[in-house]
Structure formats: structure tokens, C-alpha cells
Amino acid sequence: MTVVSVHGLGKSFAGIAAADGMDFDVENGEIFGLVGPDGAGKTTVMRMLAGVMRPDRGSIVIDGIDVLADPEAAKQHLSYMPQRFGLYEDLTVDENIRFYADLFEVSRKLRAERTGPLLAASNMEPFRARLAGQLSGGMKQKLGLICALIHTPRILLLDEPTTGVDPVSRRDFWRILYGLREQGVTILISTAYLDEAERCTRLALLHHGRQRYCDTPERLKAMMPGTLVSFTSRQARAVRDALEGQPGVLGLLLYGDGVRALLDDAAKRVPGLMARLASAGLDSEPPRPAEPGIEDLFVALLKDEES
């Protein structure tokens, strides 16, 4: 069942399109990722979905409700977590939860039933009486999520929820998201972290305000032209510079222990590249095939588009 349906969505600021040509459908129970670098238009799309910003063109239908025609009705079905911490720092954890529960008219009884498990799942139980302003970044995000979930929304919109969050809290956060997915909550998440993108069921890749590709991570990787190989070297930077612009090299990405190169035909190109490195005085093992990540994919696909 399609829960979120976006068609031809666009928004411009002072004549410049912050988002354009957004087209995707999200099925019930998906974790759908909006992936792209800063300035790709992720936040603009999220705000339009949340009904807090009016699109210039296109349509959004959430749970059968036309968001442009009746944003207030759609707000009953969804929860939105903005990128910037939106809770009250001068209110305690409990007071913030209560505030959002009351705004969604959750009864006192239901609030009490839901608060306990949510606090337990996020290891926030000991901090109920602490002011939100005195929580760490990760705990703030978890509190944001608890407040977003207190009215059991059908759809959750998360705008870069894990930016600046420590790894432990990030793991907690994703564990909660998987749990929600099992309960049938549909999640739209934006992220600039490509390792997180791989955890999504489907992705839309955003670049310069436009939607480029939209598919499952696996199928997106399969779209990648050529093959990915990994050169292991202590002089990674020099290796990259030596390989730059060589025939058959579609893309290069620097890693801590070497360089990943995207080649149009690995069997044909590797001997020539090894010779190039040897002549530059750089020692390197023969490259091994590498499993592409979303980051490699992103670089490859965008490079492909530019040429």
C-alpha cells in the first residue's frame, strides 16, 4: 500500500530551485532514505512533506490526504523531527514528552503506557527529570524521537536525525527505527551519511536540488558502471594523483589505507595502471575487487551524469 506519494514536487527561493522534480512513492513499512550532500534539497523536501512549507509545484499525498489542500489533516498522521533540535531546552524530558502528547491529544493513560517503553528502549529512563538543554546531542535526538512517537504516528519524517550524534546513540537510534518498521510505521529519513543510506529499504539520491535516482540500495549498486577495485598503499594521496586522468579510470575515492578506483574494464586496465604506479615510484599491491558502497555509487553516478 502506498502511504506517501510525491509527484513533480518543487520549491524555489528567490528564483533558484531548492528542490525540483521530486517523484517517489513510499510503501507502508518502508524506511525510505533521502540521500545527498549538504545543499541537495533534503530539508526543503522534508519540510514540504511535513506541511510546514508550501510547495511551488507538484503534489504530495499522505495516507490518502492531499497535503497541499489540507496540511492540518495530514499532520495528525505524521511526526516530523526537524534537523535542528526543536524541543524546549528549559523543559525537562518528562515535560517535553507531556507537551507533545497533549498537542496530539493523547490521553493521560495512553501517555503513561507509552512513555515507559520508549524511555527504556532509548536508555533515557534515568534522565526523565533532567532539563532537555542539559542532555548530550545523542540523548536530545532520542528525546526528539520519543516526542515524535508518543502519538504513534503512521508516518515518521526524520531530517538528518543522526548528524552530530555519537556512535552508541546512533546505534540505539537505528534499533528503535527497525522496531518501528516492524510495527508498520513508515519512515522517511534524510541523511548525508552514506553508511546509513545502506540501511534503508529504498533511496532517492538528491543532488543540487534534483532527484537523480530512486531505487533499492542493491539495484542502485548494480547500476554502477564498470567495476570497483581497491589499491592498498601507504602513499594513498600520491597513488590517487598518479591514477588521476588515466584512460579507463571513471572515478577515484581516497580511503585511509589506499584508493578505490572505478574502472570501465578492470581486466584490461589494471596492468597499465600498475605500470603507471611503478614508473611514478609508488609501490602497490595488485588491486583487489571491492564491494561498492553507496558513497562509491554516488560518486560514480554523478560523474557519469556530468560527462
Binding site: M53, P71, Y80, R84, F85, Y88, D90, Y100, D102, E105
Partner: protein, 378 residues
């Protein structure tokens, strides 16, 4: 309008007031400071006016006249120069505001022609005080003259018939002691209400923008009406609390008479609070920084309330054009009500005009305030 959402906003806002030092200072300390500063600071009474006397005759008669000046509570003789030059220096230097000069032939002239003049020089750089000083000086000299005439008549063995065929018998109403404080303090109450109401309300929406809490708030189903009423409800209570404090302070500390009905005061104060909170809320919606909003709030409440509301300067003495401007200052109606309720004990019937004006203001501002906020980010 959903009661639970309204309550959520009101409770949240109340907690924020209690935890915000700036709001607390505005709500609790400002009324106290205003009452003290303005209650003591603005005093239009002329008493103990520094005076110098230049007695060029130094006779029994001239000394008798000066005794009258010494006995008057309005004058305080600070200097007795012996040359005109010293008199001028005293006036120029501000050592005295009034100089009395008695001519060298004072007694002689009274004896010869039955009348003499006394010179009063006054520093009219403050014209109001100068006017009052001259009036008082005339009264003192008049009292002396009446006494002298009566004395002369008695010595001549004449019956003291009616010396003045017509005399004004004045009785002062409402502010019997002619204390300017009784006239000022009710106005200060209005100023406190206006300042506290508009200042606090001007912070309430801009705070959400500034702290980044607005984006989440507008993504919830809360309606603009619930937001406005919920946010202003705690400030309304703070305003009433401050009004009660000001009333007690005025009555028990400054001893301003309160002759009216507490209910009338409560009703009209509530009405005025609706007006100033509405103004503050409109400013807060329009301006997204707390500092900017509170500055504008101060400007649109403080200046008109001090200058154009009849708090200290009577409106009917102003030029016609300024009087027209005053019509648009809501505080003037509330101040008229306050003065009448405090000093005259007026009820709602006598006050129907200013009450109707405040009602109209509350309706108009409420109308615009309810529509001002849009649940959008742009």
C-alpha cells in the same frame, strides 16, 4: 479549539516564564521599580522652593512681610543678598528659583499712598513651577496686605467691615490635599500594565523562532488560535498579579485614596490587559528576534503611555492635532478609568465612554492578533 492543546501551550509557557530570568525580572521586578521611580520621581507639587530675599529697607514692615514668606511651606529662604548683583547671581546660578525684592521706601509708600509694590523675580526656565511660584507669592503678599489693612483700621478705631466685597470660596474635590502623587500613581499602574503586558507578550512568539522550536511546533495540529490564547493566558495572570501588587503599593505605601469598586478595577484592568497583550503578540509575530520585538514593544507602549495618555500631562491642554493622536492611545482610556475609580469612586455607568473605547480596542486588536500567525516557515 481543543482544551487539551490549549492547556498544553499554557502550561509550557508558564514553565518557561518561571525558568526564564528575563521574564521574571520583567514580571516581578519591573512593576516595583516603576512604582518607586515614578511614584517618587514625578512630583508636580511646588514645595520648599529655594527663594532669596533682598530687603532694601529692613524696617519693621518689611520684616513682617518676610516673616510671612518664612512661615509658608512653599518657600524656603536660602539667601539674603544685599545687592542686586547678588540677586542676579543667585538666580543665574540656580541657587534660588524666586527672588523677592522689597523697595527702600516700602513703609513710606504704604503710609503715604496706602500701597507699595514688591518685586518678584522668577526663573521661568521651568514655566510651570514659575507660574505656581508667582501665584503662591501673590497669595503670601495678599495675606500680609489684608492683615496690614485690618491692623491699620483697628488702630484708626474703624470697624472692620467687609474688606473684600466678593471672595471665592473654593472647595477641592476628589484630590482634597492637591497631592500630585494621587494624580500620578494611578497612571503609573497603567504604565506598569502596558510595559509588562507588551514586553512579555512581545517575547513569546519570537522566542520560539529564535530558539528553533517553531519548526516542530508548526508541524503539530495546534491551531493559531490555541497558540495565541494558550501563550497569553499565563501573561494575563501575571498582569492581574502585577495589578494587585500595584494597587496595594499605591494604597498602603503611597496612601493614594481608593474610593472605587474593586470589581470595576478588575474588569477594566482585564480589558486593558487584553489590549496590551494583543499588541505585544502582534509585535512578536511580526518580528522574529526577541531583542527587536522587545525594543518595538517598549517603543509603542512606553512613549505613548507616558506622554500622550494624560498620565502626567493633561490631554485637554494639548494642541488639537496632538489631542487627535491621543485618541488612538489605548492607555489614555484606562488612565481616565483608573483616576476616576481611585479618586472619584466612579462606577461602570459613569465610565461607559472609556470602557467602550477599550472594548473596541480589545475587539480590533484581538481580531488582528488571532489572524496574524501563520503556521508556515517562510
Amino acid at each position: 479549539m481543543r482544551p487539551l492543546r490549549l492547556k498544553a501551550i499554557a502550561v509550557k509557557e508558564a514553565l518557561q516564564i518561571l525558568r526564564d530570568p528575563i521574564s521574571l525580572v520583567i514580571a516581578l521586578l519591573m512593576p516595583f521599580m516603576q512604582m518607586i521611580l515614578l511614584g517618587y520621581g514625578i512630583n508636580l507639587d511646588v514645595r520648599n522652593l529655594p527663594t532669596c530675599v533682598f530687603d532694601r529697607e529692613a524696617s519693621q514692615d518689611s520684616q513682617a512681610l518676610l516673616k510671612h514668606f518664612q512661615a509658608s511651606p512653599y518657600f524656603r529662604i536660602v539667601e539674603t543678598p544685599s545687592t542686586y548683583r547678588d540677586v542676579i547671581r543667585a538666580l543665574d546660578g540656580g541657587a534660588c528659583r524666586l527672588a523677592i525684592v522689597i523697595p527702600p521706601d516700602f513703609s513710606q509708600r504704604i503710609a503715604d499712598s496706602g500701597g507699595s509694590a514688591v518685586q518678584a523675580l522668577t526663573d521661568a526656565s521651568d514655566d510651570n513651577t514659575a507660574n505656581i511660584a508667582i501665584g503662591y507669592a501673590q497669595a503670601v503678599v495678599g495675606a500680609y496686605a489684608a492683615e496690614a489693612t485690618a491692623g491699620a483700621a483697628a488702630r484708626a478705631g474703624l470697624s472692620t467691615g467687609p474688606l473684600q466685597p466678593v471672595a471665592v470660596q473654593s472647595r477641592v474635590w476628589f484630590n482634597e490635599d492637591l497631592e500630585s502623587r494621587n494624580f500620578i500613581i494611578p497612571g503609573v499602574v497603567a504604565l506598569v500594565m502596558a510595559l509588562v503586558g507588551a514586553q512579555l507578550a512581545s517575547l513569546t512568539v519570537s522566542r520560539e523562532w529564535e530558539r528553533g522550536t517553531m519548526e516542530l511546533l508548526v508541524s503539530t495540529p495546534v491551531t493559531p488560535m490555541e497558540l495565541m490564547l494558550g501563550k497569553l493566558a499565563p501573561y494575563f495572570l501575571v498582569g492581574l498579579l502585577d495589578a494587585a501588587f500595584c494597587l496595594c503599593f499605591a494604597v498602603f505605601w503611597f496612601k493614594v485614596p481608593f474610593r472605587g469598586d474593586l470589581l470595576v478595577l478588575f474588569l477594566t484592568t482585564s480589558l486593558f490587559l487584553v489590549v496590551v497583550l494583543g499588541i505585544g503578540y502582534l509585535i512578536s509575530v511580526a518580528i522574529r528576534s526577541q531583542l527587536g520585538a522587545s525594543q518595538i514593544g517598549l517603543l509603542v507602549t512606553m512613549l505613548p503611555t507616558v506622554l500622550l495618555s494624560g498620565m502626567a500631562f493633561p490631554i485637554d491642554q494639548m494642541p488639537k492635532a496632538v489631542q487627535l493622536v491621543c485618541t488612538f492611545v489605548p492607555a489614555r482610556y484606562y488612565i481616565a478609568i483608573l483616576k476616576a475609580v481611585f479618586l472619584k469612586g466612579s462606577g461602570l455607568l459613569e465610565l461607559w465612554r472609556p470602557v467602550a473605547a477599550l472594548l473596541a480596542y480589545a475587539a480590533v486588536i484581538g481580531f488582528f492578533a488571532a489572524r496574524a500567525f501563520k503556521k508556515r516557515l517562510e
